[in-house]
Amino acid sequence: MGKKKSAVYSVEVNGIKDIETVDEGDGKEKYRGLKNHSGHKKDHQKEELKKELDLDDHKLNTTELEDKYGTNIIRGLTSTRAAEILAQDGPNALSPPKETSEIIKFLKQMVGGFSILLWAGAVLCWIAYGIQFAQDNSVSMDNVYLGVVLALVVIFTGIFAYYQEAKSTNIIASFSKMIPRQALVIRDGEKKEIPAEQLVVGDIVEIKGGDQIPADIRILASHGCKVDNSSLTGESEPQSRSCDFTHENPLETKNIGFYSTTCLEGTATGMVINTGNRTIIGRIASLASGVGNEKTPIAIEIEHFVHIVAGVAVSIGVIFFIIAVSMKYPVLESVIFLIGIIVANVPEGLLAAVTVSLSLTAKRMAKKNCLVKNLEAVETLGSTSIICSDKTGTLTQNRMTVAHLWFDNQVYQADTSEDQKAQIFDQSSATWASLSKIVTLCNRAEFSPGQENVPIMKKIVVGDASETALLKFSEVIMGDVMERRNRNRKVAEIPFNSTNKFQLSIHETDDPNDKRFLLVMKGAPERILEKCSTIMINGQEQPLDESTAEAFQTAYMELGGLGERVLGFCHLYLPEDEFPDTYPFDAETMNFPTSGLCFVGLLSLIDPPRSTVPDAVTKCRSAGIKVIMVTGDHPITAKAIAKSVGIISANSETVEEMANRLNIPVEQVNKREAKAAVVSGMELKEMSTEQLDEILINHTEIVFARTSPQQKLIIVEGCQRQDAVVAVTGDGVNDSPALKKADIGIAMGIAGSDAAKMQQTWSLLDDNFASIVTGVEEGRLIFDNLKKTIAFTLTKNIAELCPFLIFIIAGIPLPIGTVTILFVDLGTDVIPSIALAYEKAETDIMNRKPRHKKRDRLVNQQLALYSYLHIGILQSLGAFLAYFTVYAEQGFKPAQLIFLRSEWEDDSINDLEDSYGQEWTRYQRKNLEWTGYTAFFVAIMVQQIADLIIRKTRRNSIFQQGLFRNKVIWVGIASQIIIALILSYGFGSITVLSFTTLRVQYWFVAVPYAIVIWVYDEFRKLFIRRYPGSWWDKNMYY
C-alpha cells in the first residue's frame, strides 16, 4: 500500500486510485483514535460505534433487504408507510449538537471570570449596607447604588456580549441554511421529488452526478457512479459505487453510499438504510460532543487576572481590617471598611472595556473574512503556536489545474494562478495544435448551460476534477470548446475504466477535405506510451525510439515527482479506406486499432496552491508558528504542495532524503538533523504516543499525509501535549471532533459542512489560509492591547483605594466618594480604555514567537506592580495634592485634617472651627467634602490622560509610536475632559452625584504629576530599550 509506487505518483483520469485506500483491510482502525478517546468518556458511545460497525446491509441481497425494510425495490414504500416510519424515526437530518438554549447562553455571559468578581462586589456592597442599616437606619444609600451599578454593569455587558455572539452565530447559520435538499424517491410506484429531510428507511432513491447523497444508502443499481468520500474519510479521489458487496467493512464496501458525500458522476439507485443521526456521519458528529472542550486561552488569562485582583483586594482588605481593629474602630465598622476596600479593588469598567475591545477586533476580523463564534476566541488565534491545516481548499485552490505540459521534448509551465489569464508557453508548435485537439475532444466534461457571462474559471462544470481542469484549460486557450466539439462530432467512445486506464473517443474532423476519423486517447502515461509506436515532434510523426522513450520517462518522473497527476495524450488518424464514413464503430468490441498510435504529449495536473498561501506560511514561520499539513492525499502530492507553499522550506530535508543524499540507511540518519518530516497515516497508525511526540518535537516542518480525519484528533492531542495552542482547520463532519478538541477550530466557511461549523470557534468565510494569518495578527494585537487596557484601568484603582485607606488610618475627611469613583470607572475611563484597542502594534508582532501559554500571561507580576505601585502611587499623590489644596485654600490646613473625621462627620456639630477660626455647619462641610471629591476626581482624570498616553506603548517611546496615529485615543482624551466638565459644571448642583462646580485652577493641580508620570514612563521605556535583558528590563517590562 502506498509503497507500490514510491517514486512516481500518477492517477489516471477517472481512475480508481492505484493506491488503495489508506486503511484497507481494517476499517475499524480508522476509528482507533476515536475509540481510544471515547473509551473513557461515555460507554454508550462505544456502543454506538460498535453498532455502526455491525452494519451488515451491504452483505444482504436485494430480497433480504426488501424483507428487512419492508419495502419494494420497484415500487418503493407506500406513502402511508413512509409517513409512519417518519413519525417513528424522525426527520432525516443531523440534529445539531446539543444547542445550548438561548437563556443558558445568555446567563453564561454573566457568570464568566470577570462577572463573578463584579457579582461578588455587588453582594458585598449589599451586605455592607445591611450591616450599616442595622446599626443606623439613616445611613447613606451609596453602597446600595454601588451594588446595583455593579450588577447592571454585568448585566449590560452580558447583553452586549450575547448580542455580539448571536450576530456572528447568525452569519454562520446563514451559510448552513442553504437551499433545502431534494431527493428523488420512488414511492407508491412513482418517482417523486421530496425534501431530503422526509426520507425514511426503506425508501428507494435515485441519485445522479452532482447530488449529495441524501442518506446512508445501499446501492441497488449503478451506472458509472462515483462518489467523493472525502468528507468522511479524507480521501480525495473519487470512488466508484456499484451494487457489489466488495468488502466486509461497511466503510470499504462499494455498495454503500454515505450521507453527505457527493455523487460526482453517473447514476445510482439505492435503498435508504439509515437516516439522520443514525447515519455513519451522524454518529461521528455525535461523537464530537464527547470530546472535551478546552477553555479559550483568554478565558484562562482573565481568570488569572481575576485571581490577582481578588488576591490584592483581599490582602489589602484584611491588612486594613486588622489595622482598623487595632485602632479601636468597632468591629462592625471595620467589616464595612474591609468590604469597602475589597469592592474598591473591583475594576468596574474593565469588563465592558474588554468585551467591547474584543468585539471591535471581531468586527475587524469579520471584514477580513474571519468570523468568530465566541468573543473570547478572538485572541486565541494570536496565541496559536501550531496550525494544523488542511491541504485541499485551504492551502490549495481546491480545483485541479493544468500545471505543466510536455511536448516536443520540452516541459512547459502553465499558469496556475486563480484567474489563469496569461498562458505564456509557446503555442506555435504544430504538436500543440494536435495536443490541444486531443485535450478538447477526449473529454466528457461539459459546462452547465446558462453561464455565458460567468468567467471561465468560475463556470460550473459537470464532470470530474481532471476533466474539468482540462476543459477549462482548453477553453481558456482556444475558446469555445463546445463549438469545437460540435464541429468534430463524436462517433464512438470508451469511457475510462480501471482495467483500461485510458479513455478513448473517435471523432469526425472539422476539416471538410479530410474524411478520416480521428481517434484520440488519454490516460495513464505509461499505458498510453505502450500503445504508441510513433511520437510527434514539432508536428512531425517520428518513430518512437530509445532516446525519445527516455525523454518521456524523464519528463514523466519529473512531473510525477512534483506531486502532479500526469496524463498522456495520443491520437491516430484512421485510414479513410479502412474506416469509411459509414463504418460502424463499436466501443464494446473495439473494432478499431488501439495500438500503434502517435504519442503527442503529457499534461500534468495539480490542485495548485493559492497564490496568497506561500506568503502567509512565511509569515507564520517568522511568527514562530509551526504549520503542519494534515491531508488525506498521497505523501508525494502533499509534500510537493508543502514545498511549493513553504510548509517544507526549500533547503530542508526529510530523514529519507538525507539518507538518500548521504547514501546511508534511514536508520543511521540523525533524526534531529532533518527539519522536515512526511508522515503517512499508515506510519501514524503504528506509532506510539511517545513516537508521535518525538516527531512533533524534533521536526519543525511536518506533513501528515494519507491520514484519516480521525487521526487528526490524535495529531491535535499530540500537539497539545507539547503545551501548544493548536488551531485546526476542517470542513467535514468527520473533522468535528478534532475541531472541538483544538484550542481553536477553524471551519472553512464556504466548503465547510454544517456540523463542522457547529464545533468551531472560528469560521473563515473565504477558506483561505492567508486569512488565518490575519487572524493571528489581530489576535496578537488584541492581546497586547488588552494588556494596555488592563494596565490603564488598574492604575487608577490605587488612586481610588488610597483615599479610603488614608481615611481609615489618618481619619481625614473622605477624599473621594463611592459614586464619584463610579464616574471615573464607568464614565471618564471607559472610552479611553477602549481606545487602546485601536492602538497599532509597536513592533512587527509577526516577528516574535507565539506567547507561551503558561509563561506569558496577560496580566503578569510586572504589569500589576508597575500599575499598582508605580503609576498608581504617583497618581494617588497627585490626587491627594489636589485634595489638600482644596481643603487648605478653603480653610482646613492639612495638619488639622488628621483625625478630624469623627467631628467632621458628626451631624450635630454645626460650628466646626477651621484653621482660621471660622465655623462650619455640617452641610457646609459636606459641600467642601464634595468639592474635595470633585477635585480628587479631576486630578485622577488629568493623570489618567497621562496614563492613557504612556499606555500606548510598552517598549517604544511615544514619539516612535506617534502621538496622533491612533485618533481614537484623542477621542478618548476628549471624552475624559468633556465628561468631567459636564459632571462638574453641569451636574455640580445635583447633590446625590456629589459633584460641585470646581474653581478653574483646581483642574490643573495634578498636571505636574501627570507630566512626572509621562516622563517617568519614558525613562522606563528608554532603559528597557537601552538595556535589554537587564534587571530593569526584567522587572519593568510588562
Binding site: 472535551g292 502611587i873 485654600e889 478653603q890 454645626n910 472651627e913 471660622q918 452641610y923 467642601l928
Partner: protein
C-alpha cells in the same frame, strides 16, 4: 485529558513550601536574596523620590497660603446658627426642673462658654460704636468689641448662675458662626418662635434679639485674637408647663444672611426641642 485536575494536597503544600523557600536556587518568595535586595533598594529609592516630590509640591502649595485668612470662602458665604448648650446627639433638651442631673451639664456648659465673656476678660476690649460695622482693615492688631454680659439680662448668669434651669425657664444661647470678612447688611436680629407645641412665652436678650453690626467683620483667629461673638439669649418660660415645644430661631433683617436653605438646616436658623417636666 489536559483539563487540570485537582492537585493532591501534599503537592500543593510542597509547591507553597518551595515558593516560600526554594533550596534549589535559594529563592525566598520567588526571588533570590540578591534580587530582593535590589528590588527593595529600588523601591526605597523610588518611594524616597516620591516622598520628596510630594513634600515639595505640598510645600509649594502651602507657601501660597496666608496664615491669616483663607484663600477662598466658597462654601461659607452665609453663617450657620448654633446654640449653647448643645444636647448630645439631636437638638432635644429633656429637662426635669426638679432633677438637677437632667440639666447640670447644660448649666456648666453655659458657664464655660460664657467664661470668655466675663467682665475681667473684656477689660481691654474696645467700646465700639453701636450700629455700624467696625472696619479695622488697616489696624494691627485687630481689636475686639466688648460684649457686656449685662445685655443678656436674666440669662447673663450674673444674677442667676443656673440660667433659669431649676425654675423651668431655661436659657439657651444662640450664636452665629464666625466667618472671616462677613459684613451683615441691614439690622440683623435673631427671631425665635415656637414652631410646635404650646405657645409658651419666649424672652429674647438683648432686646429684639438684635445682633449689633459692630462685631463685624471678623478678621480671623490669628489677627483677631480676642474677638467675641455676639450672642442672643433665649429664655423659654416653661415654668408653668409640662410641655414639649419646638423652637426655631432665625436670622432676620439682613438681606445677605440667608435663613432658608432646603438642604442646610443650620444656615441662618436653628431649631431645637425642649421637653420640660417638673
Amino acid at each position: 485529558m489536559t483539563k487540570d485536575e485537582k492537585k493532591p494536597f501534599e503537592q500543593t503544600l510542597g509547591e507553597w513550601k518551595r515558593f516560600i523557600y526554594n533550596p534549589g536556587n535559594g529563592q525566598i518568595l520567588g526571588r533570590t536574596a540578591e534580587s530582593w535586595g535590589l528590588i527593595l533598594l529600588f523601591y526605597l529609592a523610588f518611594y524616597g523620590f516620591l516622598a520628596a516630590l510630594f513634600t515639595f509640591t505640598m510645600w509649594v502649595m502651602l507657601q501660597t497660603l496666608s496664615d491669616d485668612i483663607p484663600k477662598y470662602r466658597d462654601q461659607i458665604s452665609s453663617p450657620g446658627l448654633t446654640i449653647v448648650p448643645k444636647p448630645h446627639g439631636a437638638l432635644e433638651f429633656s429637662i426635669n426642673s426638679s432633677k438637677t442631673s437632667t440639666y447640670e451639664n447644660y448649666v456648666s456648659a453655659i458657664t464655660n462658654f460664657l467664661r470668655a465673656y466675663e467682665r475681667e476678660r473684656q477689660e481691654f476690649h474696645t467700646h465700639c460704636r453701636n450700629g455700624t460695622l467696625f472696619e479695622q482693615d488697616d489696624l494691627s492688631p485687630k481689636r475686639a468689641c466688648r460684649f457686656p454680659l449685662e445685655m443678656l439680662e436674666t440669662c447673663s448668669g450674673l444674677q442667676d448662675t443656673s440660667y433659669g434651669y431649676p425654675e423651668g425657664n431655661p436659657c439657651i444661647f444662640v450664636k452665629m458662626n464666625r466667618i472671616i470678612g462677613l459684613r451683615p447688611q441691614g439690622t440683623p436680629r435673631i427671631a425665635c418662635a415656637v414652631k410646635e407645641g404650646k405657645e409658651v412665652p419666649l424672652a429674647v436678650f438683648p432686646q429684639n434679639g438684635s445682633i449689633d453690626l459692630k462685631y463685624y467683620p471678623y478678621y480671623g483667629k490669628k489677627l483677631h485674637v480676642d474677638y467675641l461673638q455676639p450672642l442672643v439669649a433665649l429664655q423659654v418660660m416653661l415654668h408653668a408647663h409640662n410641655e414639649e415645644v419646638l423652637i426655631e430661631c432665625k436670622i432676620e433683617g439682613s438681606p445677605n444672611l440667608r435663613n432658608q436653605d432646603d438642604r442646610d438646616k443650620f444656615l441662618g436658623r436653628v431649631a431645637f426641642k425642649i421637653s420640660m417636666a417638673h
